[in-house]
Symmetry: C2
Subunit: 379 residues, 2 copies
C-alpha cells in the first residue's frame, strides 16, 4: 500500500422519500436553490423540495438552467447573483452538472477575482459556501467528493477544481428520484462510473492493492448488472439503489486510497472531445477507453486479464477488451469516433487541445503524438 | 438496499513515518496523552509522539496504564484527572482499548454525572472532546468509528456507547507501528475484524446487497491472507498495511450501510465471556462464532454457501464452517469453551449474564435458553 490521506465528511442520507426531508438538514438564512433544465418540475422533485423548504421556514432564491457540460459564463453570472442576494448556502438539485456548478459558485462566492483562477491554479480555494445536494442523476459522484469540472466556452477548456471545502455537507440519495432518468442517460451514468473505477485500476503505480482492486471489481460488476436491470425495468428500486450507491462509491476516494499515483488519461482526452464537440462526457469516455486499452495492451496485459477474470468471466486479454466494447454497444453508447460522427481528420486538433490538460494533470507521457496514436485506434 | 445514513468525518493519515507528524494535526492548548501498558516506550513510538508534540509546542499531560478490556474505574478516575487539568483534546496512542477509553473520557468530560449513564441509556452524549489517534494495534476499527466499549467491573457488564461526536478527528495509521505486535495479538486482531464483518453479513435483514456482500468478502479474503503473511514475517510492510486498512474498513460503517437491521449476537455472547473470565475479546468471538453458525445452520445455509464460495473456495455449507474452524486453529485461537478452560457447568450463568446485553441491543430472540443452546454447541 502507498501512503494516503482519506477524508470524506459528506453525510449521505440514502433512501426512499428522503427528498421530502431536505429542509431538515439545511442550515442557513438564505439558500440558493439550483437545478438544470427543469425536468424536476415535471417529475415532482421540485415540489417536494419546495414544500420541505417552506415547512422548515428556509428562505431561498432560485437559479435553474444549468446545462450538461456546465459552462463558466453561467457560473460567473450566478456568482454575481449569489453575491447580490447575500446567500449563505447552496442547495443543488440535480446531477453532476448542477452539483459541479454549485461547487464552483460556492468557491467563487468568497473570492474577489475571477473564479476561473481556481481552475488554472492561479488561486487556491480557501473557503466555500456550504453545499447541500438532492441527487437526481447517478454518474459523477460529485455528491460525495470535493471536485468539480467546468467548461470555459471561450478557451474550449474543460478543467477541474478540488478542495476540502467543496465536499457537500449533506447529500440526499433517493433512488426514486432517478426513476424518470431516460435509458440513454442511464447508460451514460454507467459508463461514467465504470471509467472512474477503471482509470485508477489501470494507471495506479503500486501493485499490491487487494482491497482497492477488489472494491473496484465489486462495483464494476454491480454497476454493469444493475444497468441492464434498469434498462429492462426503470422503476426497479433495488437496481436504481445499487446503481446509485455504486456510482457514488466509484469516485469518493475509497477505491483510490493507497494505490499510489494514478491518472485520468481517458478523462484528459475525453474532456477535449466534450469541449470541442459538446458530446456527452460518457460518450467521450466510451470512445476513448477501448482505444486507450488497445494502445496500452502490452504493458497492461496482466491487469486486463485480472479484470477479465473478476468481472467478465474471461481469462483472455483481447477477449476482455472485446467484451467491454460489446457491453458498451449493448447499452447503446458509441465506442469509436465514427459512432459520434467525429472525422479522423480532426485528430491532430483534438490532440492539440488535450495536451494542455495533460500538462495541467502532469500526464507527461501524453504528448500530442501519443494522444493522436490513441485516437487513431478509435477510428 | 435499505435506507441508511452514512457519515464518517475521521481523517485518516496512512503510511510509513506518519507518527512523527502527529503534532502537525493536533489542535488544542492542552492535550491528554493516553496509552496502555507501556509497550510504546520500548518500541520507540512514545518518543516519536513526544518529539512531535514538543516540536509543535503542544502542552500535554500523560495517563498510561489502560488495560485490555478497558474498565470503568479507570475511565472515571481519568475523567476527574482530565477535568482538574482542564485539557481540551485527547491523543490516544494504542489500540481499541486505549481509543475506547479516550472516547468514554472525551464524553464524560462535559458531563456532570457518572459517565456510566451513557452506557445504560440514562443520558445521551451531546458533546465530547476532540480525539486524535496514533494506532498501534489493528483490530477494533475504533480509530474510524463512533463507538466504544467499556467493562463495568462492579456489575460485570461490558457495554457500549455511540455518538457522532466520538469519531476521532484524525487517526494516524502507520503500519510500521504494528511491526512489534506479537503473533497472538495479530491473530486476535484478525478474528476481531473478521467477526465484525461476519456479524452484518449473517444477520442483515435485506437480501439484495451486492456491494456490501462483495466488500465484506474482499476484506475477509485480505484479512485472512495477510494474517498468514504477518505470522510468517512480522515486518512485511504490505501485509501489515493491507491488514491495517482492512481492519479499519471492517467496522467503519461502510459494509453495513444499506443492509437494513443487523445485530451483533456473537459479540453479545462474547462480551459476557470477556466480562466474566477476562479472556481476550477475540477469543470470546472465535469460541462463539462457530457455535452460533451451527445453531443457525438451517436458516443461514444459503449464506454460508455464498461465503464458502467467495472466501473459502468451498461450495458446501458444513465444510465451510469446518474451514472457518480450521483457519482459527491455524492461527492459534480457541474455537470452543474447553480450549479456554471454561467449564460447561458455567453455561447457565454465562447465558444469564449475556441476556442483559441481548435486551439492551434488542436481540429479542436471544433468551437465556437460546444462548445456552448456542454455548452447548461450543463444548
Amino acid at each position: 500500500m502507498k501512503d494516503f490521506t482519506f477524508y470524506n465528511p459528506t453525510k449521505i442520507i440514502f433512501g426512499e422519500n428522503k427528498t421530502e426531508k431536505v429542509g431538515n438538514y439545511l442550515r442557513g438564512n438564505k439558500t440558493l436553490l439550483m437545478y438544470g433544465g427543469g425536468s424536476i418540475k415535471k417529475n415532482g422533485i421540485y415540489d417536494k423540495v419546495i414544500n420541505s423548504l417552506k415547512l422548515n421556514n428556509i428562505n431561498y432564491v432560485e437559479k435553474g438552467g444549468v446545462k450538461p457540460n456546465p459552462i463558466l459564463s453561467f457560473v460567473r453570472e450566478t456568482i454575481n447573483f449569489a453575491k447580490s442576494e447575500k446567500i449563505d448556502a447552496i442547495l443543488a438539485v440535480g446531477g453532476g452538472s448542477v452539483i459541479d456548478s454549485a461547487k464552483a459558485i460556492a468557491a467563487g462566492y468568497y473570492y474577489e477575482n475571477d473564479v476561473w483562477d481556481f481552475f488554472v491554479n492561479k488561486a487556491k480555494i480557501e473557503k466555500a459556501l456550504p453545499i447541500y445536494v438532492v441527487l437526481t442523476l447517478s454518474a459523477t459522484a460529485s455528491e460525495m467528493n470535493s471536485g468539480a469540472v467546468i467548461t470555459n466556452e471561450d478557451t474550449k477548456q474543460k478543467f477541474n477544481i478540488n478542495a476540502d471545502s467543496l465536499f457537500p455537507t449533506v447529500s440526499i440519495l433517493d433512488p426514486v428520484n432517478t426513476y424518470t432518468v431516460p435509458n440513454n442517460q442511464v447508460a451514460n451514468g454507467c459508463v461514467d462510473a465504470m471509467i472512474h473505477l477503471l482509470e485508477g485500476y489501470f494507471t495506479k503505480n503500486y501493485e499490491n492493492t487487494p482491497i482497492q482492486d477488489g472494491f473496484v471489481e465489486v462495483l464494476l460488476r454491480t454497476i454493469m448488472f444493475e444497468t441492464k436491470e434498469i434498462l429492462k425495468n426503470p422503476i426497479d428500486y433495488d437496481a436504481r439503489a445499487n446503481f446509485m450507491w455504486s456510482a457514488t462509491l466509484a469516485l469518493n476516494g475509497l477505491t483510490t486510497a493507497g494505490i499510489g499515483n494514478y491518472g485520468f488519461p481517458n478523462h484528459m482526452i475525453g474532456h477535449s472531445l466534450s469541449a470541442i464537440y459538446d458530446i456527452a462526457h460518457a460518450h467521450s469516455l466510451s470512445i476513448v477507453f477501448p482505444a486507450w486499452l488497445k494502445y496500452n495492451f502490452d504493458n497492461k496485459k496482466e491487469r486486463i486479464v485480472q479484470l477479465g477474470k473478476a468481472v467478465f468471466n474471461e481469462s483472455d486479454a483481447e477477449a476482455t477488451i472485446n467484451k467491454i466494447i460489446s457491453f458498451f454497444k449493448s447499452i447503446g453508447v458509441p465506442t469509436n469516433l465514427p459512432d459520434a460522427n467525429i472525422d479522423k481528420k480532426d485528430i491532430p486538433m483534438i490532440a492539440e487541445n488535450a495536451v494542455a490538460l495533460a500538462k495541467k494533470w502532469q500526464l507527461n507521457d501524453y504528448t500530442v503524438e501519443v494522444i493522436a496514436k490513441i485516437l487513431q485506434l478509435a477510428v
